[in-house]
């Protein structure tokens, strides 16, 4: 294999580089100039493909990085912050938790089953390439109205895709959240989160190291599927995309299961120095990023890559997004031992390249150099933008609209009519029809599965501890007031985790927004991220990683801005695990936090009146922090039999959920609200004032005393 530079040669048959071809690759004239500067010459067709992938929004974060830099990322227990395949925190006793969330919105809009399935596959690989064994999956979904056949088709495909993949690989899907709103009609959101555990010393990163070390392609063969998926995920969805369908990738959870077991065995074996998923932009981005992190050069020979189809060009091999593939840097001389482990799991591995001292990223096809870039500058010097941000006057107007001015419908004179209307809203109603299709119990560690509490609880075998896990984001709030909405997304996730007895530790996040080049969208993005940062700082939950998905829009408009939060909490003692439904007749019901006259941005207004208006409820982050502490101390003190946070639908809906949550043992409740004096009865019942939790207790005095002290 040629490891010295002898000049890049275009391949016979490559198309000529024209402005039209450059544009087709999504590279702007400004970016092309930058590329010419980097190379000092015209790129080859192969190089153009590589650059278009690496500089796509999906891989380069070119519009989002400066804003993301403002997020807090540190805490004494953070072992790995943003920048790696997944974030990692220590949970004590030598155990570490790796977790990350990722979107597969665009692929799922085109082919919901495969799109969602491969999304699950990708996030699983991100976690087990850190050395962690995946122990739980979560999913956060957003769809248009369930009334249209197309949306029902999307939902059933997405749910089946998530289920089939997770069920087959044997990682339980334990929690999630789903919201339906016309804002997602053309652009569903499919975010999947994976959580894994490992011993702290087993942590491994994706850093190419050691000149002379061989680079191996492991797992599935490379086919023509998904070529340019990364640039696809960086464009608006239009009818034209219908024609781009061959880009769809097919998932193979069986191969992934083998890859999972083999990778963990490889990592523990000491034969390798680094491992990385070939995710978006496949071999290109995995090899370039590994080289950049390790500050070394790499050479890859595409003729050594096992392919599924004949006649594949270097361009296709480099950009294929065939699933279930890994890039591994082995220790020199250990490649055969590594291959033996893979063979045991019926997997293929081939040496396709080498780590080199010369600081170049070089791709060869036998003797011919088909692409070569100076050092890691392709990754580090990708273009960055600071787009204009301006709030939409229309949205500001909606926010300023007084929700109390919305006239009551006549049926509302009977509050139980309104309650039924809200309980039957697909966003509020039980998601059992979804999560029954997910194996939530495999690995026999799911103490609290979907539907049983505000967050899922997964015990850490061999310890007395458990993790509390939840995804959340009320995007209606973010739409009307991105700063406040960003704060609430984090606060609600923290509240949910605390209701189960877990201390909020850290978050991962998936930022689903529209086209960042539109000032109105970039405003939402910037403000929502700042809001998240505010809440993370106040609650002490650093951001350890995440994913940005932009261009979630179509000619009808953008989705609600949706910064999905994936929260990990730690329960110190499994005896403290708390569920959300009432357990014991005769218990007292106590509301922590105060109700207010706030009615804006509520599910009530959306469901009953069809409007998204009004001021978003104000979240007091200091109060949220104290609420979390109060919950944890009361739960540890043994005073709380159930805890449920008040969210969509407000007090009345939360109370109903506490009564009906346990399908096998439903209870009733009787409450007296005559002492609560609010101007608006609607706000009392359906308003979504923040910082409130309903607890049931056999010791109401102890609860009230503790609450007063906080």
């Amino acid at each position: 294999m040629s490891t010295t530079s002898s000049g890049v040669q275009p391949r016979p048959g490559d198309p000529a580089i024209t402005p039209a071809l450059v544009a087709e690759h999504g590279i702007t004239p400004f970016e092309y100039d930058k590329l010419l500067g980097l190379l000092g010459r015209e790129p080859t067709f192969t190089e153009l493909g590589i650059v278009s992938a690496l500089w796509s929004e999906h891989c380069s974060y070119k519009h989002s990085r400066p804003v993301l830099k403002t997020l807090p990322t540190t805490a004494p227990y953070v072992l790995q912050g943003p920048g790696e395949n997944a974030g990692v925190i220590s949970v004590g006793d030598g155990w570490a938790v790796a977790f990350k969330i990722e979107s597969h919105n665009h692929p799922s809009a085109v082919e919901p089953y495969q799109g969602a399935a491969t999304g699950v596959g990708g996030i699983l690989r991100d976690v087990f390439t850190m050395g962690a064994r995946p122990i739980a999956m979560l999913n956060s979904l957003r769809f248009g109205s369930l009334d249209t056949p197309r949306v029902r088709w999307l939902v059933s495909g997405v749910v089946k895709g998530i289920g089939d993949y997770g069920n087959c690989i044997g990682v339980p899907t334990v929690a999630g959240d789903v919201m339906f709103d016309p804002a997602y009609e053309g652009n569903p959101l499919v975010n999947a989160m994976c959580v894994g555990i490992m011993r702290e010393e087993e942590l491994i990163t994706a850093k190419a190291e050691g000149v002379g070390n061989p680079i191996l392609a492991v797992g599935a063969r490379t086919g023509r599927d998904g070529i340019h998926g990364a640039s696809f995920a960086s464009e608006d969805l239009s009818d034209e995309n219908e024609a781009k369908r061959p880009r769809v990738q097919v998932g193979d959870p069986f191969t992934e299961k083998l890859l999972l077991e083999a990778s963990l065995e490889l990592i523990r074996s000491g034969h390798i120095v680094a491992i990385q998923d070939m995710g978006a932009a496949g071999l290109t981005s995995s090899s370039a990023e590994m080289a950049e992190r390790g500050d070394v050069g790499v050479v890859i020979d595409v003729t050594k890559v096992p392919v599924r189809e004949e006649g594949m060009t270097p361009y296709e091999i480099l950009l294929s997004e065939s699933q279930e593939r890994m890039l591994v840097v082995a220790k020199r001389g250990h490649e055969d031992a590594a291959k033996a482990i893979l063979r045991k799991w019926d997997l293929q591995a081939e040496v396709i390249g080498e780590v080199i001292a010369e600081p170049v990223y070089r791709v060869v096809e036998g003797d011919r150099i088909v692409a070569e870039f100076p050092g890691s500058r392709l990754v580090t010097e990708c273009p960055q933008y600071h787009p204009e941000a301006r709030e939409s006057a229309v949205i500001a107007g909606l926010r300023a609209t007084d929700p109390h001015a919305v006239a009551e419908r006549s049926e509302e004179s009977d509050a139980s009519w309104t309650l039924c209307e809200l309980l039957s809203s697909p966003t509020i109603a039980s998601k059992r029809w979804i999560y029954r299709q997910y194996d939530s119990q495999v690995r026999t560690s799911t103490v609290v599965g979907p539907g049983m509490a505000d967050a899922a609880v997964v015990r850490l075998r061999g310890t007395n501890k458990a993790l509390a896990l939840k995804t959340d984001c009320n995007s209606r709030y973010v739409y009307l007031d991105p700063r406040m909405g960003g704060r609430i997304a984090v606060a609600e996730a923290a509240r949910n985790v605390a209701c189960t007895g877990g201390r909020p530790m850290a978050i991962t996040n998936c930022l689903n927004f529209g086209n960042p080049k539109k000032p109105e969208v970039f405003f939402q993005f910037r403000e929502a991220v700042h809001g998240m940062g505010d809440a993370c700082r106040a609650l002490g939950t650093p951001v350890t990683g995440g994913n940005v998905s932009l261009y979630n829009e179509n000619p009808q408009g953008a989705v609600f801005p949706t910064p999905t939060i994936g929260m990990v909490g730690l329960i110190d003692d499994i005896a403290h695990i708390t569920r959300s439904s009432f357990t014991t007749p005769g218990d007292s019901i106590v509301q922590l936090g105060s109700s207010t006259n706030e009615l804006g941005a509520s599910e009530y207004l959306a469901r009953v009146h069809g409007v998204t208006i009004g001021a978003v409820p104000v979240v007091d982050l200091d109060h949220e922090k104290r609420l979390v502490d109060l919950l944890l101390s009361m739960i540890a003190g043994g005073h709380v039999r159930s805890a449920h946070d008040l969210s969509e639908g407000g007090f009345a809906v939360a109370l109903a959920e506490c009564c009906m949550g346990d399908r096998e043992a439903m209870l009733g409740a009787s409450v007296d609200l005559s002492d609560v004096t609010l101007e608006s009865e609607r706000a009392l019942l359906w308003g979504e004032a923040q910082g409130r939790v309903l607890v049931s207790t056999g010791a109401p005095d102890a609860v009230l005393t503790a609450a007063a002290a906080h």
Binding site: K160, N167, G170, P253, F254, T255, L258, D346, V447, R461
Partner: protein
């Protein structure tokens, strides 16, 4: 007593079975690799749940040909206990150690839920520690769990006490609503004629700890201890 739990490519409840046997039952459990022929002197062999070979073609169709299956057959022919759970049940049917077949759920969807089961039949090896007619609560998690066989096979299974678990409501009554997959005659688990090979769709190894919601699976394993003599 020594339990051997087979790992096929794609098995994913193998580790859970090992934990159930060692952590909850206090017995010895070893993992057996599908390509091996050595059953390491195990008294009981368990084919665990999961998606062997990704359920390609039909669940269990390919795993049945793994080398270890020759030893499983020999073990069964000696009259020693074999348990197939979920995918393991599918493998046992595919290898004709048990009659019938498991087809796609009638609802066409994967179902993960708690079900109730009525204990019946005459298989003391597995049922000794249960009361006849006892109602159990256990998880199911499968997409191809609809037990089918022709009428005469079904009659014969029932006539010989080989139907050991049936889906029922919490009161023990067999109803269509309590049947998660449309299995004929509500059948959730059967044994072979000799009563030493058990196949069941529900997961007893997931029902061995009150922390996880049920301990109704424990007596199944305890029956074996009492019978074979630890």
């Amino acid at each position: 007593m020594k339990f051997g739990i087979v790992t096929f490519p794609g098995s994913n409840c193998d580790v859970d079975a090992v934990h159930a046997i060692t952590d909850q039952l206090g017995q010895t459990a070893v993992s057996l690799w599908h390509r091996d022929h050595d059953t390491q002197g195990c008294d009981v062999l368990i084919l665990p749940g999961g998606f062997s070979y990704g359920d390609a073609l039909r669940a269990g169709a390919i795993a049945r040909f793994s080398p270890i299956m020759q030893e499983v057959v020999a073990h069964a022919e000696r009259g020693a206990p074999v348990i197939g759970i979920c995918n393991g049940f599918q493998i046992l049917c595919e290898s004709h150690l048990l009659p019938g077949a498991l087809m796609r759920n009638a609802g066409l969807k994967f179902v993960c839920d708690w079900v109730h089961l009525r204990v019946e039949g005459a298989a003391p090896m597995f049922l000794n520690s249960y009361q006849p007619g006892q109602v159990l609560r256990m998880p199911v998690a499968h997409g191809e769990g609809r037990f089918v066989a022709d009428e005469s096979t079904l009659d014969s299974l029932e006539g010989h006490g080989q139907v050991v678990f049936r889906y029922c409501d919490p009161a023990g009554i067999v109803t269509a609503e309590s049947n998660p997959n449309g299995a004929l005659r509500g059948i959730a688990g059967i044994t072979n004629a000799a009563g030493n090979v058990l196949g069941m769709m529900p997961h007893p190894e997931r029902a061995v700890e009150s922390l996880l919601g049920s301990t109704d699976g424990l007596p199944l394993f305890e029956s074996l201890l009492a019978r074979v003599g630890a």
